[in-house]
Amino acid sequence: MSFVLVQVIVGGLLLGAVYALFSSGLTLVWGMMNVVNFAHGDFVMLGMYVALMVYTLLGGGPLIGAPLATLALATLGIIVYFGLIRDVMKGPMLAQILGTFGLALLLRYSVFWWFGANFNTLPANLVGGTIDLFSIRIEASRLLAGVVALLVTLGLHLLLTRTSLGSKMLAVSEDSTAAQLMGIRPDSMQAIAWGIAAGATGLAGALIANFFYIVPTVGETLGIVAFVTVSLGGFGSVPGALVAGLLIGVIESMSAYLIGAVYKDIVVYTLFLGFLWFRPQGLMGKL
């Protein structure tokens, strides 16, 4: 019993780290420019397909797939910023929602058209199978994703708080007119923010691809979790997303094991709503 419970908690933490990993990009974009990216889940999906292509065409694992997905998605993020976001940001909130939602559908069904509707997976031994640690079983692929989640969170946090680039980006998000007067170009900063956010999301996708199924609609399933994680952690807070992800992961696993999987969402969302009642800005967000 207790052994299984430890396994459940370990599994929950690893799951939570993955939630945090694919939420960091979403929270960054929100924190920097108050844009909710509804295409976020589909960015994850694209990262997964990059990893799939690296495997099928080159036979390579995440060592090649992850950097390539980061690069590809970062490029896409910058293109999307200049082609779409820059313009819809000037419009009403509804324009942002519909704009990014339209982008989500465009990406999803382009992949659908090109790759078909079939489910794909990467072989489990691509990242060293499963580690057995005192009969607690840990998938190497999930562990890798968890470790990268910590590194990405730390990296983004340091970038925003310790570098001049981060200060400039924060300055733009605080007051873009004032930043402009100080010689900072809001356009470039925001494009960089989009590039970083999309890159981190692509990286997440490439790592999740190692243990999840790959299908054009997978962004729907994962996107919702990202939104919950980000609002619990506090919109705009990268460390908040990490803590929130871990919390949701463990609560989900524990409630699924102890009360039953069909009730786990009830438990998670009741706690979630109750928490927001007392702290609407989330764990680490600012009002």
Binding site: Y109, A117, T121, A124, R137, Y213, T221, A256
Partner: protein
């Protein structure tokens, strides 16, 4: 002014040409609506369904003498309607019961289809067929198994597939036979999602098993399209049931296979209720780590040159994948509908309904291993049946039960990877 007059004349001419064209086309085509999940998480199943219907359209609209006496194959078009061609309007249910219902309404009122088929997920067939019932349009379903679909007293709903009750009995007989052969089958865990399909099938299986004097299965329910099912696998690992019965769609079936490998859990026997386990993309993705899984099926590839083998080849050319049980059942539903329309010699819904009620197809007229097709007063095919197949090599299923029609003997225990 003069210019406007010319434009007006031209438009009038254009409209009359279109109208005349429309009238001509109407004489020659029979319009059917088909609702499937062409996007969303079940799109893989929907795309295969579409391919199955398209193969059937090809067989009906073009002459296929190589198929012998297979219904509607010999001549081009529907002989009963003077060689009229079939036109199918596909609609996407997006995996949502509300969308399925709207699509049924659109197909009937705007596309003016004379009959409907679809909609894969039982929960969507439920809502879409309610619209057909309201408008008095025949709805023939070939694949949804939730028992309640034919328990609603509908007059326009017909279903060719065997249903949950039939399969629950097949599972019971199969497990009894396996027990007699020395396998342990005393405790059963029933893993199912919380959709209309998952929960209703689980319910029926539990009821039938209890009626037959077996202990009630351990119920392991989970929300469909899960992001993680580790806790369920750990529950199974802890409870150690003799048999794990899986009632899941493709996405979750893949996740279960992967998680079972990660947690090093192999039940002594794994029996799947079609759906995800029959999806060709399931086999490609995780077939190699699901070796030894049992599954139900009504499809079996006949000897080379037989109509089923030829149809399987046509399907492979169309979709790029091997035909599976679900696609074959969908095709059967569609053929049954078209055979009735052909026999009715009319596109009048009431006449099609009457013809459907009089349907009496023989095994050799079907793509599937049913004993035939004949509807009871509820619209359920009373001659539907199925067999148990096993994924012995991780690539292709072979039939293993009942013994009379088995290609190979069942292998135990479940091998996994």
């Amino acid at each position: 002014m003069r210019f406007k007059g010319i434009v007006g004349l031209l438009s009038a001419a254009a409209i009359s040409v279109t109208l005349a064209g429309g009238a001509l086309a109407q004489d020659k085509t029979v319009k059917i609506g088909a609702i499937f999940p062409l996007s969303g998480n079940a799109a893989s199943a929907g795309v295969h369904a579409k391919a199955a219907i398209e193969v059937a359209i090809d067989i009906i609209n073009n002459a296929h003498p190589e198929l012998g006496n297979f219904p509607l194959a010999k001549s081009a078009g529907l002989a009963g309607l003077g060689g009229a061609k079939v036109e199918v309007v596909f609609a996407d249910n997006q995996g949502s019961p509300a969308t399925g219902q709207n699509q049924a309404l659109r197909l009937i009122t705007e596309e003016k289809v004379v009959a409907l088929t679809g909609a894969y997920q039982s929960g969507i067939t439920l809502t879409a067929s309610a619209i057909a019932e309201k408008y008095g349009i025949p709805f023939v379903n070939g694949e949804s198994v939730a028992a309640n679909l034919t328990e609603r007293g509908f007059k326009w709903f017909f279903r060719t597939t065997p249903i949950a009750t039939d399969f629950a009995k097949v599972y019971y007989d199969f497990l009894t036979d396996m027990k007699a052969a020395g396998a342990k089958t005393d405790t059963v865990a029933l893993v199912h999602d919380n959709t209309e399909y998952g929960s209703s099938v689980a319910n029926v299986i539990t009821t039938v098993f209890k009626e037959k004097g077996m202990a009630a299965p351990l119920d392991v329910a989970y929300p469909a399209n899960a992001t993680d099912i580790q806790s369920q696998v750990l529950q199974l690992k802890e409870k150690k049931p003799d048999v794990v019965l899986m009632v899941t769609y493709t996405s979750d079936a893949i996740l279960f296979a992967k998680t079972m490998q990660a947690q090093d859990y192999k039940p002594p026997m794994l029996l799947a209720d079609d759906a995800g386990y029959s999806d060709p993309s399931f086999l490609k993705a995780v077939g190699k780590i699901s070796q030894g899984a049992f599954n139900r099926s009504s499809w079996s590839l006949g000897p080379p040159g037989s109509p089923t083998a030829i149809i399987a080849k046509l399907y492979k050319e169309k979709s790029g994948d091997d035909i599976d049980d679900t696609a074959a059942r969908q095709m059967t539903g569609f053929f049954t509908l078209m055979e009735a329309i052909d026999r009715a010699g009319s596109t009048d819904p009431a006449k099609i309904q009457a013809a459907l009620k009089a349907t009496d197809l023989k095994p050799e007229q079907l793509v599937l291993g049913y004993k035939g097709i004949k509807f009871d007063e509820k619209g359920q095919n009373i001659l539907a049946s199925g067999v148990i197949i096993q994924l012995q090599d991780g690539e292709n299923y072979v039939s293993v039960w009942p013994k009379a029609s088995a290609e190979k003997a069942p292998i135990l225990p479940y091998k996994g990877w």
